[in-house]
């Protein structure tokens, strides 16, 4: 079930009612939420529930195994290996089986061997990456001593399968979510109203901005020979719509969870205002970026194996710059490969690794006085945004050859009709970006002053009414599918 499907409000109303009716016992609340979550997840394909429970149980048993081993003075690494092999193996099988199947068949055919693609075309279960990463983080944190293993299966299961975070994150850490799972959730009107506002804003971003813009972006990308202006306008359109889509999804997830008494991890903090790649990744898909930082980048930086076998032999001496560059490259390539098996995702990861490295190097050469001046950020933010649009162009274009052909098109070329299309797309970008900018002003200027004002309730109810009108108006265009469901 999708957060923007017509059946979701009814489903959520029932869950909400039962959840707070059971507020005398938090275990009963948790059982009800687990049942609701499995129903939510199994709405389309019930077999996916089995995979979800399998991954959850592997994490449960492994964390307890790690704790038992460590209590006996052992490392517990064998359990870590088990959960890594199980979860990463499952993820890779579902994500890359079809890709390798095609490659092997193509290679055999090139050698003159008659071969056909396997009839077994695996479908990636929705949310597999997200609950796999959450479970892995939990076991690694237990192994590192950063989290306590959970013996209570009910509370642990809710931590993994809670429907608000299940299908596309945010990826929550045990130390943040587990205490909330373990405590009773009582009805709090302030939280419910705040959650409702957040969820409605998320739905507006998804339905009004993302679902309105993305069909036009797709149409331009589907053109065999778009003009330079068209393709850059479409890349800008994708940049706006993908933020509206994913942050809209996140707001729906966090808002729904807040209404039920949970505070999930934040995922977006105005990423297009970043003043460099490092800040961009601190603002974009934050729960995944911090996951990569803690479980890929940091181990790559500090692993004795990497230091001994990679750093010294290749750089001749121990150098933090080259060491972090290699770790960053590995991390961004992992991020790219995680997004998909097509070459553009790998290239996209390499692009951000190169951008991060060059940016850091150049930044280190800029005089400190200039970096601290008021003019520095107004220069770096638009520059980083430009690099972000290029990154989105790579992300959106599966054919790398076509991406490079876009770069070398004549900027002044194109028919009159193509210029009209590009202009229309740019107008749509402005229309899509305007509510996002207004939200920024609301968040930083209006909301803090409104919280203690007598106008709070009338303004809030008016904004809900406007949101509902917008949702009804634009809903017929909505696909209900979110971009990040495919990952």
């Amino acid at each position: 079930m999708s957060f923007v499907s017509p059946s979701f409000p009814a489903f959520f109303a029932v869950v909400f009612g039962i959840h707070y009716a059971l507020s005398w016992n938090h275990r009963a609340q948790s059982v009800a939420l687990i049942v609701a979550s499995l129903g939510f997840y199994g709405w389309v394909d019930t077999w996916m529930v089995g995979l979800l429970l399998g991954a959850a149980m592997l994490g449960y048993v492994s964390a307890l195994g790690v704790a038992a081993d460590q209590a006996k003075g052992r490392d517990g690494g064998r359990w870590l290996g088990l959960v890594l092999a199980g979860n990463v193996g499952t993820l890779c099988t579902f994500k890359y089986f079809n890709f390798f199947d095609r490659q092997i068949v193509a290679a055999l055919q090139a050698l003159g061997v008659q071969a056909n693609e396997s009839s077994l075309q695996l479908i990636l279960p929705i949310g597999l990456s997200f609950y796999t990463f959450q479970t892995l983080a939990y076991v690694i944190d237990v192994w590192r001593g950063h989290a306590q293993p959970k013996r209570d299966l009910i509370q642990y299961l809710l931590f993994v399968v809670f429907f608000c975070q299940l299908v596309a994150g945010p990826i929550n850490r045990a130390k943040q979510l587990m205490p909330q799972v373990e405590s009773v959730r009582r009805f709090d009107l302030t939280n419910v109203l705040s959650g409702l506002s957040l969820a409605l804003w998320g739905a507006v971003k998804k339905v009004m901005i993302a679902d309105t813009m993305s069909p036009y972006v797709d149409l331009i990308y589907a053109q065999p020979d778009p003009s330079w202006a068209m393709i850059w306008a479409a890349a800008l359109g994708f940049t706006v719509s993908v933020l509206a889509d994913f942050s809209g999804y996140t707001d729906l997830a966090r808002g729904s969870a807040r209404m039920l008494g949970f505070e999930l991890a934040d995922n977006f903090n105005h990423p297009y205002l970043a003043n460099g790649p490092a800040e961009f990744w601190n603002r974009w898909h934050m729960s995944f970026s911090t996951w990569l930082r803690d479980y890929v980048y940091m181990p790559a930086c500090f692993s004795p194996w990497v230091k001994r076998w990679i750093t010294v032999p290749f750089s001749g001496e121990w150098s933090p710059f080259w060491h972090t560059t290699r770790a960053l490259t590995l991390t961004m390539l992992v991020s790219g490969v995680w997004h998909g098996s097509t070459a553009n995702y790998v290239f996209w990861g390499g692009y951000y690794a190169a951008l991060g490295t060059v940016w850091t190097w150049v930044h280190s050469k800029v005089p400190k006085k200039l970096k601290k001046s008021r003019n520095w950020r107004p220069f770096t933010v638009p520059l980083m945004f430009m690099f972000t649009v290029v990154g989105m162009m790579i992300f959106r274009e599966p054919d790398i050859g076509r991406f490079f052909s876009h770069l070398v098109r004549n900027p002044f070329g194109g028919t009159a009709d193509q210029w009209v299309v590009a202009g229309g797309m740019l107008a749509m970008c402005a229309g899509g970006a305007a509510p996002l900018l207004l939200a920024l002003v609301w968040e930083r200027v209006v909301a803090p002053r409104l919280s203690t004002s007598p106008w709070a309730l009338p303004v809030r109810t008016t904004s809900w009414a406007v949101a509902l009108i917008l949702l009804v108006t634009f809903y017929r265009r909505s696909t209900g599918e979110f971009v990040y469901f495919q990952f």
Binding site: H146, A278, N282, W318, P320, F321, L328, G356, K368
Partner: protein, 78 residues
Amino acid sequence: MADTLARLTEVFHDVFDDDTIVLSRSTSAADIDGWDSMMHVTLMMRIEQAFKLSFRSHEVTGLKNVGELADVIDRKLG
């Protein structure tokens, strides 16, 4: 401990190119301009060189302040 903090201060001055940094146990990333996740790794690597020790990743993630960092260093050196 005091010696560790003094040696750490030297490393911080070098990494952040700022001799005005004064460290205390409660100093955190929010107090020092430029101490982001990328710089954190460089800082930890410089500390490894200065103190001639080797961190594991779990020892340098989730540190709340300089005091916790100094504790990790003292534990490894002790």
